[in-house]
């Protein structure tokens, strides 16, 4: 639909010129930016647009997210992340919690999404949760993700909320079933945005690793020096099928490769200290304190943190044969990697 007649009409004639912007942005530019032709959602843009735009009610902003993330034209999952309901009197903050909680349901399975053959649209659910974990170091008062007010303040990520003890009003936990978990990790401040983590290594030796703020910005993320934390590595991994030999493979195997150069490490505290589960399939409740990143040094042989994982998350195990590649649940082999195992658990991140 090209109706331009530049030779006959001037900008003044056709009404253009009144709103010329400094950088010459056109309507087409703006729309193209909002609806990228390629796959994947620009979450920075999404959050920014939601907070920038005007709405009749604050709840409308969240409803827009439900639509966006429940539909496919922006490459979010084909199914809504949570039951789409219309509650006239719902608080916007509660709608946000319900929205993220729906996105987060059973995402632990998706950490190894690529080799499992999950559709990309499902992977976007994980990506959005990882985006929140990665870009908002301050969790909300009740949950592992930022509150609506914290999100609407983005890119200011320094807003802290006092942690509420006890069960959250609205359940929106993130169940992690294929992450790597390290307990008893203590931190030492290096500078404004870097910490040295110290814990027992695989062979009983004390190992250290340097972790830094995800954003590279020095803000108070509430880490207390000398306090023992639980680290959870939720970096997505891939498990390339190099042969078609029948056998079992799990995500905690050594040949699993992290997808990112920079690991996403969640610093957590135990919600029920002293009651560490030891049985299989027990829930292990953690509360996120902040998120840090770890880049394996070049001298590091392993692509994963050097600490001993004293607890194992439940992992989907894959049966490989020449015609199929599918998953089934199986407790990890206690002798895998020669590491001791106290239990196979589902981490419930609150």
């Amino acid at each position: 639909m090209d109706c331009r007649e530049p030779e006959k009409l001037t900008n003044v004639d056709i009404g253009i010129g009144v709103q010329i912007s400094a950088d010459g942005t056109t309507l087409g530019d703006a729309i193209n930016t909002l609806a990228p032709a390629g796959r994947g959602v620009n979450f920075h843009l999404l959050i920014s647009e939601i907070q920038r735009r005007s709405a009749t009610t604050e709840l409308d902003r969240i409803r827009g997210l439900f639509y966006l993330c429940g539909q496919s034209h922006l490459r979010f999952p084909s199914k809504p992340p949570a039951p789409v309901t219309y509650e006239m009197d719902e608080e916007p903050g509660d709608a946000w919690i319900r929205f993220v909680g729906g996105l987060a349901a059973n995402l632990g399975l998706l950490l190894g999404r690529q080799e499992m053959g999950f559709p990309d649209v499902r992977a976007d659910r994980l990506n959005f949760c990882l985006f929140l974990l990665e870009n908002f170091p301050q969790p909300s008062a009740e949950h592992w993700f930022p509150s609506l007010s914290q999100v609407l303040a983005y890119p200011d990520i320094s807003i802290q909320e006092p942690q509420i003890q006890g069960t959250p009003r609205i359940r929106a936990s993130l169940n992690i079933t294929a992450g790597r978990l390290y307990r008893g990790v203590k931190f030492t401040h290096i500078d404004d945005h870097a910490y040295e983590a110290e814990a027992a290594g695989a062979e009983g030796r004390v190992c250290t690793a340097t972790l830094s703020a995800q954003t590279g910005v020095g803000i108070d993320v509430g880490i207390i020096t000398g306090h023992a934390y639980v680290l959870l590595d939720v970096t997505p991994f891939s498990h390339p099928i190099q042969d078609q030999t029948p056998g079992f493979r799990g995500p905690l195997s050594l040949d699993v490769t992290p997808e990112w150069d920079s690991h996403l490490i969640l610093v957590c505290r135990e919600l029920t200290p002293g009651k560490t589960p030891t049985g299989t399939a027990a829930d292990y409740h953690l509360r996120r304190v902040t998120s840090l990143r770890w880049i394996p040094p070049e001298t590091c042989k392993s692509r994963w943190l050097p600490f001993q994982d004293s607890l194992r998350t439940i992992e989907p195990t894959f049966i490989v044969n020449p015609t199929q590649y599918y998953k089934r649940w199986q407790a990890p082999d206690p002798n895998v990697n020669g590491q001791d195992q106290l239990g196979s658990i589902t981490v419930v991140l609150q």
């Binding site: 950088d23 309507l27 193209n32 843009l45 920038r52 219309y86």
Partner: protein, 395 residues
């Protein structure tokens, strides 16, 4: 602040249908759940080829005293290219046409019904015609009682359903089991809205299964300021509620534009989604003030509980979006204030209605000699944060 222009007669009596429980009003059932079929050979083309566009007058003309043969002849005249003898000899055809005559329906309603009747879906549904409550007559077109509304396909469930739906006791927000207990209050994931605008028939009709989701073009627009709106009643939506439109805009102009773009079905919120009652209108509505507005609002809230969650499905499923950047039905204005809070670019609601430009049809372009995509808008949508640029966002 009161709204102006509510359509009332000289006595202040509303000109729209004020009986929210009128048998001719839409049933408050849940939106249609479209069970996609893998058989893609069905009806898509069939409903497009014979799409005869009725004039406003013809669409709104009631059957009156015309005989069955006359109505059948009218249908044959419009649909003869596809309507077979087997269609016309089918008992259901006779039954429905007789119903139209007895109910003195509009020709537009009959026209919209035939579009569904010629589809294979109808023949499927027709097998259930003997089951009370399964197929409803809504303004001359059948509407499903979606099977997902009830648990189990057994006859007992259907029997119960007819009781519930005939009495219109069904709270649309909930799933109801055979014991009439609420078991779930979620909207089905693939639910589509309850109404759609049949452009050829110029009637709002139930969104039945014969529609391919992607053939419905939603109309995106940002609502103009309250004071710039006026309310009209129209037979397009069977006078079910006053339509808020930008002052000076007529539905006919919008329909003409959609026809020019070969759009068969459209979803327009003011037509297909029950609008709020306006109890503080100027001049005041003198009749039904207390009861009507209370009932109308109750009805709207009931419907919105089921309908609002379905809006996203329309935009997601559609191949194209028809968008008015300068207000519904208004000509595109390149010199508008793109930074205004009411501008389409600046509304949170329209974000989910955005598609790639090649999938967006810009409305109001007739006589406007500009390419809307290259006219310069503003940087307002791109001032997102320190250090961010357009390119970094795209990456």
């Amino acid at each position: 602040m009161g709204c102006t222009g509510l359509p009332v007669d000289t006595n202040g009596k509303p000109l729209w249908c004020t009986d929210t429980r009128h048998p001719d009003a839409w049933l408050s059932i849940k939106p249609q759940v479209l069970h996609r079929r893998k058989d893609t050979s069905r009806i898509e083309l069939q409903i497009w080829k014979p799409a005869v566009i009725l004039s406003d007058d013809e669409s709104n003309t009631r059957i009156g005293n015309r005989t069955y043969q006359e109505l059948d002849g009218w249908v044959w005249k419009l649909w003869g290219g596809i309507l077979s003898d087997s269609h016309r000899k089918h008992p259901a055809y006779t039954e429905w046409l007789s119903h139209f005559i007895s109910g003195n329906y509009c020709f537009g309603s009959v026209h919209a019904w035939v579009a569904w009747y010629i589809t294979e879906d109808f023949r499927d549904a027709n097998m259930s015609l003997g089951v009370p409550g399964y197929v409803f007559m809504c303004h001359g077109v059948p509407a499903y009682a979606p099977s997902s509304l009830f648990d189990g396909p057994d006859s007992k469930a259907w029997s119960d359903s007819s009781i519930l739906l005939d009495g219109m006791k069904c709270w649309p927000k909930f799933r109801i089991n055979k014991a009439h207990r609420v078991v779930e209050n979620i909207c089905p994931r693939n639910a589509m809205p309850r109404r759609v605008w049949d452009i050829c028939a110029n009637k709002v009709v139930p969104w039945t299964e014969h529609l391919d989701d992607s053939d419905v073009v939603p109309i995106s627009h940002a609502w103009v300021h309250w004071e710039e709106r006026e309310f009209v009643t129209t037979m397009v939506n069977h006078h079910l509620w006053p339509i808020p439109l930008p002052r000076g805009v007529h539905l006919k102009g919008i329909r003409d534009e959609l026809i020019q773009h070969n759009i068969r079905y459209a979803w327009l919120d003011v037509l297909c989604l029950r609008q709020e009652a306006q109890p503080y209108s100027v001049p005041p509505v003198r009749f039904y003030e207390d009861d009507y507005f209370l009932q109308a609002e109750k009805r709207r809230i009931e419907e919105w509980a089921a309908d609002i969650p379905t809006i996203g499905s329309v935009y997601a499923a559609s191949k194209q979006v028809f968008v008015y950047f300068s207000g519904l039905g208004r000509p595109f204005n390149a010199a508008q204030n793109w930074q205004d809070v009411r501008n389409w670019l600046n509304r949170a609601w329209t974000l989910q209605e955005t598609k790639n430009p090649q999938n967006m049809i810009v409305g109001g372009m007739q006589g406007v000699p500009v390419d809307p995509w290259t006219c310069q808008a503003s940087t307002c949508t791109l001032t997102l944060g320190p250090g961010w640029t357009v390119e970094s966002l795209r990456n």
